[in-house]
């Protein structure tokens, strides 16, 4: 905690950043807050917190308001992947973001089945090895078609269309969301048309999802949406050898013409 506070204070005092988005312990709850030179005094309330909030999304709001200022943000492994993508998707400006890393604890890493639970450098926490293969995926891959069908339909039909998974997601930065197009998804009907609702969002996650898991945590019905988006990242890796968030070069395979590497036989397996 202290290391983090020191680093933030140093960045602020050296005018490297104009604000730092992190968590402030208030009324016993870690809450998203922006530390700035005006409230340096409250620095010791800055905590890492063992619960995660979409700080990148707050950063988008703040830097959207103040495009010329530079902001720091607390980033775990997934958030850093988020920053990389948000730069590629032109939502942030390269030299106006300074991430301050936190390495996730091993149980959080286990919980997330995160393949890289640590940013490129961090001030708090120790590095734990990532999990290569997600057990959730294997469990579902293990099922046959009928079991998978009933599993997912039952899951999808729990949805109350609160759009929480979208509202919490740091990578969903669209002005208006096509899932609210009444020609596509009928209004006033629960559960929403499935699997269209959830699979559409899954397709949107190609080249976007950084596997931070906030969506699943925000889902009031505990639908394993994260598993879906882990599968998306797996598909994109397998078909196009593209790892979302890993490199600042390249573009999501569904957002550039590129070269044709697939044959019809690969598609109509």
């Amino acid at each position: 905690m202290k290391a983090m506070q020191a680093r933030v204070r140093k960045l602020l005092e050296e005018n490297k950043i104009d604000g730092f988005i992190g968590l402030k312990m208030e009324h016993g709850h870690p809450a998203p807050f922006m530390f700035s030179r005006e409230n340096l005094g409250e620095m010791e309330t800055l905590v890492v917190g063992d619960v995660r909030y979409p700080l990148n999304k707050a950063l988008l709001k703040v830097s959207g308001q103040y495009p010329d200022l530079t902001f720091g943000v607390m980033v775990r492994g997934c958030d850093e992947r988020g920053i990389t993508e948000l730069l590629k998707w032109n939502q942030l400006h390269r030299d106006r973001v300074i991430p301050v890393g936190v390495a996730c604890s091993s149980e959080l890493a286990q919980l997330c089945e995160c393949y890289k639970p640590y940013p490129s450098d961090w001030v708090v926490g120790e590095k734990t090895e990532g999990i290569a293969k997600s057990k959730r995926l294997q469990k579902i891959e293990g099922m046959n078609q009928k079991e998978r069908l009933s599993y997912w339909l039952n899951q999808f039909n729990k949805c109350i269309k609160c759009y929480g998974c979208r509202d919490v997601c740091p990578m969903c930065f669209c002005e208006v969301c096509s899932l609210e197009d009444r020609n596509f998804i009928l209004t006033g009907k629960l559960p929403p048309e499935n699997p269209t609702f959830h699979l559409s969002r899954a397709v949107h996650m190609v080249g976007r999802c950084i596997d931070c898991g906030l969506c699943e945590e925000a889902c009031p019905s505990n639908i394993p949406v994260r598993t879906l988006y882990k599968k998306i990242n797996e598909i994109v890796k397998e078909y196009f050898d593209y790892r979302t968030g890993e490199s600042s070069e390249g573009k999501s395979p569904l957002n550039l013409l590129g070269e044709v590497t697939l044959e019809l036989s690969d598609v109509n397996k």
Partner: protein, 135 residues
């Protein structure tokens, strides 16, 4: 330049989910579920996610309006209250109190809700009172 989150409870329904209102330079810019809230454990419904939108919404009414020949025209408070009072009194006398019903709003404070049901029961004399969150 200031960005902070204010912990509060969603007033729409009885669940009382804990949520943070995101405040940027004094403007409500978003709502986040409070993940450490013992009740909602980081979940919100669609109303909860958009609970902040009506607060500073430009389309909120600021003056009482009375519809005159199909058009809402601005009116003073006195004129509005007199109209409501007289009309309710007329209905009560002609058709009896139970022909009037009261629906309160989740957007009002509990106190205001309490006063309204008191008006219904004591002044008008009807038990037809309800609240969208079945308070």
């Amino acid at each position: 330049m200031e960005y902070k989150t204010v912990l509060t409870t969603c007033g729409y329904c009885g669940c009382g989910c804990g949520l943070y209102l995101e405040v940027l330079d004094g403007q409500l810019v978003g709502a986040q579920p409070c993940k450490t809230d013992s009740v909602s454990q980081g979940g919100l419904c669609i109303k909860g996610w958009n609970v902040h939108e009506f607060v500073q919404n430009s389309e909120r009414l600021t003056k009482p309006l009375i519809k005159k020949d199909g058009q809402f025209k601005e009116a003073t408070w006195d004129e509005a209250l007199d109209t409501v009072a007289s009309r309710l009194k007329k209905i009560k006398e002609e058709n009896g109190p139970d022909r009037i019903a009261f629906l309160t709003s989740a957007k009002c404070t509990n106190e205001e809700n309490y006063l309204l049901q008191k008006l219904a029961r004591a002044v008008v004399g009807t038990n037809n009172v309800d609240h969208c969150a079945r308070l």
